[in-house]
Symmetry: C2
Subunit: 130 residues, 2 copies
DNA sequence: TAACGCTGTGTAATAATATAACATATTTAA
DNA sequence: TTAAATATGTTATATTATTACACAGCGTTA
């Protein structure tokens, strides 16, 4: 059974906003949007973001410095993420591909390194933008 | 036959510095180091970095905002990168794994997206840090 | 129930990363 | 040999993220 995290006020406000967007949001755009809810400083946003990332409710798109909600409602995974990113319209989609995930999970390098996390980003053109 | 790019003065200076380091360098640390060579402004560094990334001489470690030389001297690939990153000592190594690369190259999602690039970062603890 | 650890909040200041805008020079290709 | 493309230099500024400090709330435990 998964531990159900109790979110704090700021964490809820920010998760709520990110979940309502189907596309990644940037920290300062989040800040702008939550000012009306009494969140005034970047640090308040980053603290909530960090926590939400940590518990797998959202993911950071590293190449874009932006944050997207994890749609995989049941089993939040903070440590194994795959995204496709359209370089034209910037549309981002999380990919759930069992075979690929398995491959990445099982990957062993030749240096004896112990992995506990990976992040994969595919770039290209989506159907609309081809 | 691979086209041999001719690098400009600033590009050479900066590539040279990055190649001498076996670990990723950050833009402003590069800037600091090349001031003695007459490169004075962030933009001069970023311009060179962008070009070097584009032609595959260096790669950006997205999760670290840092740049590392591509050791794969013959066939610089700017569009298919795999790294392992130690979360303790921050050691970064580029991974060349034929099977995994093949898998990623051949990956097709179910949305008809056309990929031309990917970047994969593995995180964990290296031998020394376990 | 008092003391403690843990997590979260609020605020100000500042650090770190990256780009815009403008003027000019150099190289490449038609 | 002129036009296009690429590179340079400089100033200013935008964007992303963290440090430092003070304090509040909550559950544990001694």
């Amino acid at each position: 059974m998964q531990k159900q995290e109790t979110l704090s006020k700021n964490q809820k406000i920010i998760l709520d906003l990110i979940e309502k967007s189907d596309q990644p949001l940037k920290a300062y755009s989040i800040l702008f949007d939550v000012k009306k809810k009494g969140i005034n400083a970047p640090l308040q946003v980053y603290r909530a973001l960090n926590k939400l990332v940590k518990i797998g409710k959202i993911h950071k798109i590293e190449s874009r410095n932006a944050f997207i909600a994890c749609k995989n409602s049941k089993c939040q995974i903070a440590n194994a993420t795959i995204f496709s990113i359209c370089e034209s319209c910037e549309d981002v989609t999380e990919i759930h591909d069992h075979k690929l995930s398995e491959h990445l999970r099982d990957f062993k390098d030749n240096k004896g390194m112990k992995y506990n996390k990976y992040n994969l980003e595919f770039f290209g053109l989506c159907k609309k933008c081809v």
